[in-house]
Structures are given as C-alpha cells and as structure tokens.
C-alpha cells in the first residue's frame, strides 16, 4: 500500500491542476478572445443597459406581447437562478389543471380566437427559461397582438417571420421564434 500513496496523491494533485485550473482558464481565455459576446451570456443591450439575453426567455402575460412557453421555475416564472421543469407526469391532475388554467388565460385575452391551441404554448418547458416558441404558437397569438396594438396584420406577420429561425443548417432541431427579441422589435414600432 505504501508504494501507492505517493503516486496516488501527487498524481491526483497535478492532474487536478491541469484539468481543473489550467484547462478552464485556457477555455475562458480563448472564449473571451474569439466569442466574447457568447461567453458573456449573449446579452441584449438597449441604450447601454442589458435588458435580457437572446438565449434566456422572459415572462410575458400582457396581451400586447407575444407570450412564451409557460415556466415552472419558482417562486417566479423564468427565474434565472432556479432553472427547472415542472416534472409533472401526464397522469398528474396538477398538470391537467395547469394546462386548463393556461388555456383559460389565452382565451380570456383573445375570446374570438378559433385556432387550435399549440401544445408548446400551454406546456412548461424543460429549463423553465426556454427563449422560443413554435411558429404555430406565434401564429396563434398574432391576431391578438395586432388587435391590442392597433397595428396592421402585415406588420406583425412580417416581424414574426423576421424572428423565425429555421432548422439549423436546414437539418437540426425545430423551427422556432425568439419571443423576447420579437417583443422588443414590437416595442420599437412607433
């Protein structure tokens, strides 16, 4: 055993320094040099002040804005320091109740809407911070936002199209709309 202790302890310390200090510092250095914006959190800055991140969703409940995915973080939705899903199974009555509540809120904000309700608009995301919704969820809300803001339908549809991302490299993932960036663009319209 004695012959094991010296190599075990010294190798543990040295390899820890290489993989636990040198490696992350090197990655940080390269990141700062090559991708400073991404390494810092892809912040959106408006007139000098950060108003959010392109990658982290925010909570919207005003009918003037497009709403994002429901968020199960606590205590408040879209809590950046407590990412989490609901972890409710499909048989859990609490999930059915929550979905019912979200449908009611959507209907109350837009009683005349007869479109089918897209599933991603009434189910909580995995991270609770999902920045995006499906094009179906955006289309469902377009009429409401148009009406409440007294805009032309075409203006809103054009903005949605501008903020819709296709599959990455036409192959990976799903088509999606960034909610925060879309809403910021809506507020820009004077």
């Amino acid at each position: 055993m004695k012959t094991l202790f010296r190599p075990a302890i010294s190798l543990f310390i040295l390899l820890s320094l290489i993989t636990g200090i040198a490696y992350p510092l090197l990655v940080t250095g390269i990141g700062k040099a090559v991708f400073p914006d991404q390494a810092g959190g892809s912040l959106i800055v408006k007139s000098g002040k950060p108003v959010g991140s392109k990658l982290i969703g925010q909570n919207f409940s005003d009918p003037r804005y497009f709403w994002g995915r429901p968020s199960a973080t606590s205590p408040q939705p879209y809590n950046g320091t407590a990412s989490s899903g609901s972890n409710q199974g499909p048989l859990n009555p609490a999930l059915t109740d929550a979905v019912k509540g979200r449908i009611d809120a959507l209907k109350a904000a837009d009683p005349d809407n007869t479109l089918p309700i897209p599933v991603d608009l009434v189910t909580a995301s995995g991270s609770g911070l999902d920045p995006q919704i499906s094009p179906a969820a955006a289309a469902y809300q377009a009429a409401r936002v148009t009406r409440v803001r007294h805009l032309d339908r075409g203006v809103v549809e054009k903005l949605v199209a501008e903020h819709t991302e296709g599959r990455q490299w036409s192959v990976f993932g799903e088509e999606r709309v960034n909610v925060l960036q879309l809403n910021l663009a809506l507020d820009e319209i004077r």
């Binding site: 094991l4 040295l14 993989t19 990655v27 897209p118 995301s125 289309a139 799903e174």
Partner: protein, 600 residues
Amino acid sequence: MTPHEWFLLGLYLVVLLALVKPVGTYIAGVMEGRQTLVLRLGGPIENVLYRICGVRKDEEMGWLHYALAILLFNLLGVLAVYALQRLQLWLPLNPQAMANVSVDSSFNTAISFPTNTNWQGYSGESTMSYLTQMLGLAVQNFFSAATGIIVAIALIRGFARHTAKTIGNAWVDLTRITLYVLLPISLVYAVFLIGQGSIQNFDAYKDVTTVEVTKYNNPKMDANGQALKDSKGNAVTEPATTPTQTLPMGPTASQEAIKMLGTNGGGFFNANSAHPYENPTPLANFIQMLSIFLIPGALCITFGRMVGDMRQGWAILTAMTLMFVVMAVATMYFEQQGSPFLSKLGVDQTLTALQPGGNMEGKETRFGIADSGLFATITTLASCGAVNAMHDSFTPLGGFVPLWNMMLGEVVFGGVGSGLYGMLIFAIMAVFIAGLMIGRTPEYIGKKIEAFDMKMVSIAILVTPLLVLAGTAIAVMAADGIAGIANPGAHGFSEILYAFTSAANNNGSAFAGLSANTPFYNVMLGTAMWFGRFGVIVPVLAIAGSLAAKKRITVTAGTMPTHGPLFVILLIGTVVLVGALNYVPALALGPVVEHLILWR
C-alpha cells in the same frame, strides 16, 4: 415516427460510425504506446509528472495492485469533492457567496461524481461555487471517465496477453487517457460550445431589467425559513412582483464538454442540457449526442485492434447499434403520441408545418420531439445521465424506455469504458450459456472461461439489480422514502425505481420530481452509486488478471465463432433476458400500469 425523426436517427448513425474507427484506432495507439507522434510530444510533460510522483512507467501491475491504485485514486476524489463543498464559502471564485453544502448532500455529490454517476440532488446555479464546479466536479468528470476507460483497457489486455502476470500501469494509463484523449477533445469541444452560445466566464450573476414586470405568488416563510402551509397543507402565498431577472454566469462550457464526452452528465445548471446556456442550439445538441456515444463506440474498435481481430470489435458494436436503434425509435414514437388528457382539453399535439407537436411538457422548443427523444435514449443507454428534456414528464412508455435502458446495465454503448467492460462481461456470459447448450468448455477471444471467471461475471452482473431492487423496496416501505414522491399514483413508484436504477447503474438522470436532497436519499443513493461502480470494477479487474495469466488456445472446428450474426443475436438475447428477468415485476407496477390508465 415522423420523417424528420427517421432522418435525424439515420444521420446520427452515419456520423457516429464514421467517427468511431479513427478515434478507436487512436486510443489503441495511445494505450499500446504506438501513437509515436503524440507520445513524443507529450513525453517530456509525462516524464516530469512521473518524476514528481515517483512513478516508474515501465513497471507494470498485477490486477490487485491495479485495482487498489484505482480505488485509492477515486477515494481521493471523494475526499476532495467533499472538502471543496464543505469549505466553498471560504475559498475563492465564489462571487454569489454560495454557502457551504450540507453534510449529507456533500456526501452524496462526493460519491456521485467520482463514480461517473453525476446524480445531482442539488441544483448547480444556487448551490455550487465556481471553484467547486471546476476544481471539484469537472475534475472528477475527467478522472471518472479516465478510470472507466483504463479498466476497459485492462480487461482488453487480459484477452490480448497470455501467461502474463500484469495488466498495465494504472498511473501511466490514467495520465495518458487524460492528457492525450480527454483533454484535447474537450478543449476543442468547449470552444465550439461557446461559439454556439454556451457561457464561459467568472463574472457574478447579472441582473437585467425585464421588458415586463413579473407578477407572481411568493410563498410565505416562517422564522426558520420553512414554507408556511394552511390547514389543507397548501402553501401560503402572497402576491409579489419583480422588475428584474438574474442571469446565471460561470465557467460552463469547459465543464459541459467533458460532462458529455466522459458520459458524466452532471449539469452546471439544474436544468442540465435543457438549459440554453448549457446546450444553446440544435447543432450543439447534435454534437452533445454524438459526444456521448463517441468514446464508448470507439472503444469497440480499440478492443478489436488490441486483441488483433477487428471482427470481434465490430460484432460488439453491431449488437450495441441494433439495440440502440430499437430503443431510439420507441422513445421518439411514444413521445410523438402526446397525451390523450391534453387532447381532450382541445390542445393541438399533431405534427404540422408549424409545430412538431407531441408531448411537449418538459421539452424545449428548439429540440422538439425528435431531438429530445433521441437524446433521452442515448443518455440512458450510455451511463451519461445528462438530460435535455425532463424524463419525469415523458409519456408512460416514453419514460419506460429510458428506465429500461439503464436496467440493461449500461452496456449498450454504455459509459466510457464501463460500457465496453460491461458488454464484455455479457459476452462471456453468452459464450458460457452457448457452451452449456452444446456441452463444451466456453472460450472467448482465445481464452478458456473457467469457474473463477464465471463467479466474477456473476458478481458483476448481479450487484446492480440487487442494489436497485433492494433500494427501491426499502424506499417504498420507509416514510422518508415516500415523502420524496412528487407525482401521485404509479408514477410516484416509477420515480423511486428510476432513482435507484439511475444511481446503481451510475447513470445520473432522474425522474426529477422526486425530492432526493434529503438525508435518507442522499445516503441511500450515495451507497448505491459506490457499490454499483466498484462492485463491478473490482470483479472486472479480477477477470482481467485471470485471463492475462491463461494460455492462449488455438481456434479449432469446435470453437464457436464470436464475430458472426449468430453471436450478435446470442449477445443481444443475453443482455435483454437478464435485463428483463430482473426487472419485469417492478416495471409492471410503474410505467406499465401508468400506460394502461392513460390510454384507458
């Protein structure tokens, strides 16, 4: 299965199979000392390390010596991770002033990371300092991955050598795998992840003023910080608002790379690979899925090369790939079905031009059903345990597949190293069963399989089911065990079964509704993780030593070929039979019941 899902699965297989050969050949070259360019470049660094550490690199170890070295090295990991958590408040790189972690949670995490499990009872962004993450957890991501790989290499040497007393030098093997395989790939990979949007900095968390003021209900706390409950047991809340959002920061990308490459799976953040800062884009997600299977797949090639018969490696890889395809199709199919309960409420879960549809609870928009279902299959077949969607919210059968994937013993690709050595244990079992059927002494890769080997094989195969079933039984009988359940009914049982399956098989994913950060679960699951890891590694190394000492026997007409379709089928049959026989009763009580209720 939608056309996109078929296409994604096909593309994944093509890219994976194109990569395993060069990577597997490279690993074999490094481990056999033939990769002369890399070894010459790194030689001076290696020599300095060995001189300081008193390692004589040409001196090899017998299996017991090798096993003790690995155990000691991993025990140091446990101590280091425990100490960093308990002292983090007084150590540097803690801008959020994270408090020292509790005794039982520290114990659980200190076992979780060195055993390559990365079960997480805590949530990263509100518990761990940057120093604990990078010097404690990420370092163990490297070391536990290296440990798994070198145990597999030692077992391969057992087959490749004959009449030998030694199976390699553990210190040299650990160093070379870390420096020449894990570190360089992680470096490139981490930079790629930053490019996609993963964060990498040491800043304090950033407050931003949100577009809309968030209104919410804040739970009221009593003087001790416990949530107040009314007479019905519901939390008492008061209305609150906040005009800001706090964005978490930290050295994420560097940890994320080795988390996936080493099939560790412990997220920097609570939401793991569902978090946009960990897994920002669908391309990043595809590379994450590839990096989980990359080394486990490549080691099959390494195996073929080192035993001098490539067909043996391809046979193992074929068996793994066939099982993977079936499981992947099943998960994606069941998740695409969605929930009939939501359809009744008028929710549209169909696939259209504008949405992927399916069961989106707990899933991210950018991943949809295809990327979430495929990821879930890969992460549970490999003992990775990272998640990009919440498995607890999967449909009953969509969640059944990940659960059963782990129950197969993490041998279909499996963890880095642990997948291959686990599969080779099943291969020995398969030739043993075949030997019994035809009445001949079983042999595999030129080695006679004898009583001692079969005893060790039995221990290695039976230790995890024992831990899973006994642990689950104790937890469902104990008040502390039941207290953690989040979902009512059969799903609550599934949560507990999933937790013990994940811990004992060193996976680390969870039906995360279970409140497992309690002394009961921290101790029970910590124990399961330790014995689930080293209760297999020690017998595997014993087999390696035993095989290395044997003479090589020549292939005769009576030798069963272990590279053809017959053997592949036999191997799959053995894995599925053992997995099914152990767990069918438990599965019937959980996901099967749930499925019947959901579609009643």
